[in-house]
């Protein structure tokens, strides 16, 4: 089930809509410190249903909305869309193409859509169950987590295996 594209709009340092296309193989993302690369990683984590603001380096859920610069006013909403090719039915859905959109507004209101239909967060989680992309999967290795995993106590490593089990 190849990942097809990721569209980031108003999320963190991306006030202007930006789309990444993902072909087969290896896609490299490069750029200076602070340019927005890890924000792309977090956009993916977020649109797939991340609920822990700590995993997004935030303190509040609305921290992901573009907060403005000296020259540009803050925005009122952040929106991310990810699209998958589901021909091999790796996601729990009959759709051949799957587009997931997550939106959050300044007042904290959030909205989730699968193929433009409003759904609940639970439906997003159910879509990924047993797909290798659930919350417990290792599909996203965040910056700094390699050192963290190594330093984990033997008991914590156990929970890593338990999640995979």
């Amino acid at each position: 089930m190849p990942l097809k594209s990721l569209t980031i709009n108003g999320f963190k340092s991306f006030p202007d809509k930006v789309t990444l296309e993902f072909p087969k193989g290896i896609t490299g993302i490069v750029g200076p410190n602070g340019s927005g690369k890890s924000n792309i990683t977090e956009a993916m984590r977020w649109v797939m249903g991340e609920t822990n603001v700590r995993h997004l380096r935030g303190e509040n859920t609305t921290d992901v909305i573009f907060g403005g610069t000296a020259m540009k006013a803050p925005l009122n909403r952040a929106e991310v869309t990810v699209s998958f090719d589901n021909q091999a039915k790796q996601l729990n859905s009959d759709f051949k193409e799957i587009e997931i959109t997550r939106t959050i507004f300044r007042n904290g209101d959030t909205n989730y859509q699968i193929n433009q239909q409003n759904v609940r967060l639970k439906d997003i989680h159910d879509l990924f169950m047993d797909s290798g992309l659930s919350k417990e999967s290792f599909s996203i290795i965040s910056q700094g987590s390699v050192e963290q995993i190594f330093n984990a106590k033997p008991a914590d490593r156990r929970s890593v295996i338990e999640e995979a089990a």
Binding site: P2, T69, A165
Partner: protein, 157 residues
């Protein structure tokens, strides 16, 4: 539940022992249960011996050896629980050039149905990418994206 844990542990442990010499260009490693008699609560120890070195406590490993050992563990888990795509955000920060190249080669030869997205500062990793995106802030505080080629990046560096 505990048999499922034991089973998964055995599989990950076997994968770990198999991948380690590929990552390090030699050496041995394995996972071990801290308490074989208590499957419900046991922790997991890592035993790693880089090539040419004597087996010592994990704490004595170098920064780069620790990173590569952890990367090995992650890929052992991925072997047992495959993912359709994997985003790696600067996992090779502590690796020297030779290890960066070996790791990039490992990804290149990995299961072709897995898409990898590598965020990196390292030339060796960029060199193995099938396509490159450059992220920049031409306007302060605003990220923009551009498809780039390796030679364009090299000119900038």
């Amino acid at each position: 539940v505990s048999t499922r844990f034991k089973e998964t542990f055995e599989q990950v442990s076997a994968a770990f022992a198999d991948i380690f010499p590929k990552m390090f260009g030699g050496g041995h490693a394995k996972l071990a249960l801290t308490d074989e008699t208590d499957i419900l609560n046991t922790g997991i120890d890592i035993i790693a011996q880089p090539p040419g070195k004597k087996l010592q406590s994990l704490s004595l490993l170098s920064g780069g050896e620790r990173a590569l050992t952890t990367i090995t563990l992650l890929f052992a888990i991925l072997k047992v629980r495959p993912v359709p795509f994997c985003i790696l955000d600067e996992v090779e920060a502590s690796l020297d050039e030779a290890n960066v190249d070996r790791f990039a080669q490992f990804l290149k030869n990995y299961d072709l149905t897995t898409q990898f997205i590598m965020i990196t500062h390292r030339k060796g990793s960029m060199a193995q990418a099938d396509q490159l995106y450059g992220v920049m802030m031409q306007e302060s505080g605003i990220s923009s994206l551009l498809s780039v080629s390796l030679s364009e990046i090299e000119q900038q560096l």
